[in-house]
Amino acid sequence: MVSSIPKDSHSVSELKEFYRQMVLIRKFEEAAAKAYSVGKIGGFLHLYIGQEAVGVGSIAALTPHDYIVSTYRDHGHALARGLHPNPLMAELFGKATGISKGNGGSMHFFDKNAHFMGGHISLAAGIAFASKYKKEDSVTICFFGEGAANIGSFHEGLNLAAIWKLPVVFICENNHYAMGTPEYRALAVKDVSIRAHAYDMARDHIEGDEVRKVRDHVKVAVERARRGEGPTLIEVSTYRFRGHSMSDPAKYRTKEELEAYKKKDPLMRARHELELGGIKPNELDKLETDIQTQIDEAYQFAETSPEPPLSQLHKYVYAEDK
């Protein structure tokens, strides 16, 4: 299973940081699942468990000036961006302290300062358009699932990004099921990245279980975009261990399939690699315990935060005047 033992202290500490982020996401999502099951979180809750290496690896390829556009399965991306778990959990709880003040919920995390936006393919192209317009060297990366690759705006967004050479990297996290529909019933061409050919766009295809590999590949695309050579479509093959959302028991897939993917768990893999790189298991256990404490605090913070004031109902419908 292991192909990349970290060779020096730098790569060990790098992988350790990635591992920390992945554990943070995993434990955040487990806590969110718990909160959902006891009714503290409403609406839809799409968990990222199993896909952590994609978000962490991709976002590691960015600078703070770059932009991230994500929707639906966005908690992991926000945490990988370095957003604090407290306002994220509070947003899921619909509290005033939430990252979108309780108006957004699970699918709409926004943080202007962190350049993190909820949105979709053409919005990402628009942010990249603005970077080019303002002659800034920011790159935008856009996460979406293989289900979204069948929406019309995928075609329009990619075509426009390609003809205008916009600095954007489209990352299709293919977890093989769009809600309950397996990819073979939805995609005429199974490898989404091949569609890049239709737009004369650079493409890449990565297995999403090795976090540093994801980072290295995405970095190539980000640098290409930053040089003004246009967008890239990357397909990252990954798997979600939970259903599409918390309300989905995922009966459309076999236990055997799930177990096979769990053997490729990116967290397990990273931990094993760290141990081979010389990190003691008890050190990693401590890291996990510390993160659990942090997540418990986030849960506590969300639970004890106030709901938005009722006066907020009409606020933000329109922007304040200049």
């Binding site: 957004g104 053409s122 603005a130 317009y133 075509n159 426009l160 933000y316």
Partner: protein, 324 residues
């Protein structure tokens, strides 16, 4: 006082605004090299170049989304739909992204974007290309909806829309593009949400906007000869709505008719009718009436198109009936 066409007034407003703010750009199908499908952007490519007057392929959903994304990070796009009929393939971006962005981000992302283009019924363009969309967009909180009826209003309202930090639906009337009118020299703006009494009268209030103003004015002239004095309220924008202007007029005339190009069911006139009856009910001598497009898709046939649209005669008939 300059005499400009409605088209020239819009053109002048965009040029002036783009000259004073480099963050404003114009994007749409044929806005650049072709000089605008309806020539509203005539000359702008030469003035501002391809970086700011941007031709797109036929991809309304895509470029509407690009406009929204770019507005999130500080640009001030003017997105032209060749006609509002084509906005339907972009409506997801307008309703779900532009209108809600500031709200669902908790006030982090204002949306300084103008969606504009031709609306209403054209010369025998039939069902898919002759439609009034203001009621559709006015339904959605977060959007502003502007519908100018004269060159002067088109100029002043477009400038305000471009300067606004909210997504504005700016619906131009396809048949008014060639209409000439006085536009004062020098720069001025008309605040969104400020209607205007286009004609003073004492017997009945006509509430209207955009091209329907012309039906109202024509009806007023017909009725004047019969001794009926009509007051015309031009709302100019539906969101925000100049409610008090309507109420003050109705208090004076005690009767109101809404004249609009759109369909009747769940149309904006129904909202106005409700507001009048809720807020100045005791002043009314007659239920509020409405003159709208017929409740059918637009026909291609000339006679059926004419019959389908509101007209001065239909307005006059309605008023005569109310005053009987």
């Amino acid at each position: 006082m300059a005499i400009l066409t409605y088209r020239e007034a819009l053109n002048r407003a965009m040029i002036e605004e783009m000259k004073q703010d480099p963050l404003i750009y114009l994007m749409g199908e044929e806005v650049g090299h072709y000089q605008g499908a309806y020539k509203v952007s005539q000359g702008m490519l030469d003035l501002f170049g391809e970086g700011r007057v941007i031709d797109t392929p036929i991809s309304e959903n895509g470029f509407a989304g690009i406009g929204v994304g770019s507005a999130m990070v500080g640009l001030r796009p003017i997105i032209e739909f060749m006609t509002w009929n084509f906005s339907l393939v972009a409506i997801d971006q307008i309703i779900n992204s532009a209108a809600k962005m500031n709200y669902m981000s908790g006030g982090q992302f204002p949306m300084p974007i103008v969606f504009r283009g031709a609306g209403g019924a054209g010369g025998r363009l039939a069902a898919q290309h002759s439609q009034a969309f203001e009621s559709w967009y006015a339904h959605c909180p977060g959007l502003k909806v502007v519908c100018p009826a004269t060159p002067k209003d088109a100029y002043g309202l477009l400038k305000s829309s471009i300067r606004d930090n909210n997504p504005t639906i700016f619906i131009e009337s396809e048949v008014l593009y060639g209409m000439k009118g006085e536009v004062p020299e020098g720069e001025f703006t008309i605040p969104l949400g400020l209607g205007e009494i286009k004609r003073k009268g004492t017997d009945i209030t006509l509430v209207t906007w955009s091209r329907a103003l012309s039906f109202a004015e024509e009806a007023a002239l017909i009725l004047e000869k019969e001794g009926i004095s009509v007051e015309i309220v031009d709302l100019r924008s539906l969101r925000p709505l100049d409610e008090n202007l309507i109420y003050e007029s109705v208090k004076k005339t005690n009767r109101a008719v809404v004249v609009e190009e759109g369909w009747p069911v769940a149309g904006f006139g129904a909202q106005i009718s409700h507001l009048i009856q809720k807020n100045v009910f005791s002043y009314l001598d007659h239920p509020v009436e409405r003159v709208t497009q017929m409740d059918v898709p637009m026909s291609y046939a000339a006679n059926l198109e004419k019959m389908s649209l509101p007209s001065a005669n239909r307005v006059a008939d309605t008023i005569r009936e109310m005053l009987r």
